[in-house]
Symmetry: C2
Subunit: 355 residues, 2 copies
Amino acid sequence: MGVHGELQYPLSERAQHLLKVLVERYIREGEPVGSRTLARESGLDISAATVRNVMADLEEMGLVRSPHTSAGRVPTVRGYRFFIDSLLKVEPLAPGQVRRLQAEIEEAAAGSDPHELAERASGILSEVTRMAGVVTVPRTEFRSLRQVEFLPLSGNRALAILVVDEREVQNRVIETGRPYGAEELQRISNYLNEHFAGLTLEEIRNRLVQDMEETRAHMSRLMEEAIEMGRRALAAPPESEEDCVVSGETQLMGFRELSDVDKLRQLFEAFEHKRELLGLLDRCVRADGVRIFIGEESGYEPLGECSVVSAPYRVDGRVVGVLGVIGPTRMAYDRVIPIVDVTARLLGAALNPRA
Amino acid sequence: MGVHGELQYPLSERAQHLLKVLVERYIREGEPVGSRTLARESGLDISAATVRNVMADLEEMGLVRSPHTSAGRVPTVRGYRFFIDSLLKVEPLAPGQVRRLQAEIEEAAAGSDPHELAERASGILSEVTRMAGVVTVPRTEFRSLRQVEFLPLSGNRALAILVVDEREVQNRVIETGRPYGAEELQRISNYLNEHFAGLTLEEIRNRLVQDMEETRAHMSRLMEEAIEMGRRALAAPPESEEDCVVSGETQLMGFRELSDVDKLRQLFEAFEHKRELLGLLDRCVRADGVRIFIGEESGYEPLGECSVVSAPYRVDGRVVGVLGVIGPTRMAYDRVIPIVDVTARLLGAALNPRA
DNA sequence: TGTTAGCACTCCGATCTTCCGAGTGCTAAT
DNA sequence: ATTAGCACTCGGAAGATCGGAGTGCTAACA
C-alpha cells in the first residue's frame, strides 16, 4: 500500500489530521462536513477560518470537494485512498469476534460442497458487515483425488464421479467416443485409482499428458483408454458465472447514497453479470492481504458509488479463491478491513485438508 | 377457477365489458382510467356520463376504486380476480415461441443437476416474461435409484453417493456408528445395488423399513448393516431454503409501482427468505393448471403489490415441483399465463426419464 | 327507466416564490 | 500564520398559485 496515495506536495501534519477527522466524520454521519464542525471535532485549538484555509488546500489537491458552494466538504476518491493508505489504523478484530466468525465458518465448512460453502461464507460476510458479501468458489486444482468412478450412460456418454479430498464430490458427463460397459469402466477406474489417487488434480492432469506422449508405444489398450478417459474427466471445467457468489445485496438498499432506483438497478444488474466481478476480484489475487477498490478505481461503472474490500484466501499457501465485501464508498473501513482479512484466513483454514 | 370471482349481484354484459376494457387499458398504460377515455376505448356508443354511472356500480361492488377524488379508476384485487377468472381469454402460445422455449429448456436440462436446472428454468422464465422467475427444485422421491456407492471417511462417517436416473448424483455424509473399511462398504453397496437398483427412492425407503421389521430374525449381519446404511443414505433430506430458486429480481426494479426503495427492499428481503415463498408455492400443487395469486391474496405482506402466476410441473403424472413468475399486479396476464403453463409442461417433459 | 349534457367541485401535481440557515471566500486586523 | 468579520451563494423546505383531469349530481330527454 502507499503507492497509490502519493501526492505532489507533502501534507502538513495538521492537514492530514484534519483530513482524517473529516473522513471519519463523513463516514459516520454521511453529510458534508463544514469548517466549524471540523474545527470543533478536530481537537485542535484552531478556528473555523483556519480550517477553511486548509480545506482550500485539500480541495486543490483533489482530496476533498464540496458538493456545492455552500455545503461542507466530502472526501473524493483520492481522499479516501490517502485516508486508507496513510491515515487509517486498523485495530485487529476482537478475539471474541474472531471466535464467533471461526465457529460460523467451521460450521459452514462441515460437510458442504465448495459452492455451498462459498454461499455460506458470503452470507456470513454480508451479515456481519451489513453489506453485500462476495466469495469465489475455491479452486480445486491443488487438492488431491481420492477416488474416481465411471458409470455408463446412454449413448456414447459416461458419468465420471470424482471424490476429492474426503469431502467433495464432482460429477461430470463425458463423451466417450463409443459405448462402454460397466465392467470395462470398472477396470478403467481401477487403473486410474491405482495410479493417481492421492495426487492433486493438477498433477494428475500433467501426468496424463506426459504418460500419453512418453509411453504411447508400449501402452496397453486398457492404459490408453484409461488415460483418455481420465483426461476427459479431469479437464478443467470452464470458468462459470457460478464460480462467484454474491449475497446480501439487499443490505445495500439501506444506504442513502444508493437510494436512487436507477443506480440501484444498475448495481444489481452488475451483480448478475458475475464475469466482470470475477475479473475485478482476480486482480487482487496477487496482493498479499486485503485489497481495496474505491469507487471508480474498480474501473467498473456500476460500482461507481461503491467500494470493494477483498482478500485472497489460501490453502497450503496457494491462493484458491477470493472473498470480499461490497458496500458504499462511505463505509467503515476500519471495521470491514479486519473482518475481511480474518474471514479470508479462517476460510482458508477451514478448507485445509484435515489431519 | 371461477369460484373466487362470485359476486353478490350479477354484472350486466356492458359492465363486464367496461371492466375488461378498463383492466386491459390499466395494465397497458399504468394510469388510472377516466370515464371519457373508457367511453371512447370501449367501442360502445356510450357517453362518459353513462360510464360514470357504471363505474359507481363497479366501485360499490369493490371491483374498482379511484386513488383519489379526481383520478380515473383502477382495478382492485377483486377486480383483477374477476377479470382473470371470467373476462380474460388466454390465447395459446404461438408455436414458434413454444419451440424456442422448448429448445432452451432442453438445453438447460441436458447434463445439469436438478438445482442447476431449476436455476436455468427460472432464468428462462424471467428473461421471457421480463419479470422475476421462481422454480422449486424437482423432488427426486419418485425417481429411480441407479446405483449407490459408499466411501469411508475419517471417523465414524461415510460418504454415500447415489446415482439417480442416469443424470443426477447426490452425495451425503452419513454417520455410521462405527468405522467401516472400503471392502466392507463395497459389499454393502453391492447388496443394496442388487436388491434395490431400479426402484424409486420412495419405494426403497418403504421397503427398507419393511424388510427391517419383517425379517429381523433371519437376517445376516451384512443385510442388517446394509439396510441400516441404506436407511441413512436415503433419509429424506431436510427441506432447504435452497429448494426454491428465484432469479431476475432485478427486472422488478423497472416497474413504476415498485419505485419506492423501501417497498422494493421488503420485496427483495422476501426473496431471500425462501421458506415463505415455498409455502406459497406449495399451495398451488393441488391445482391442476396455472394458479394465480393477486396482491394480498398471497397472504404475504411484502408481495402486496405483486402477483404470482404459478403452475406445478409433473414427471410421470406426479407433481415434482412448482414454477412461476412474480411481477407487479399490473402485469400482462394474457401473455404470462400461457408462458408459465407451457414452461411447466416443458420442464416436466424434459425431466422425464429418457428412453 | 336508462341515458345524456351541463356544471360546480375536488384534488393532484407542476411550477414558482419565498425564506432561512449553513457554509464559503475574501479582507483586514492581530 | 491565524483569526474575526462580512457579504455572498446555494440548496432545500414550506407555502402559494394554477391548470387540468375527472368526478358526482341534477335536470332534461328518449
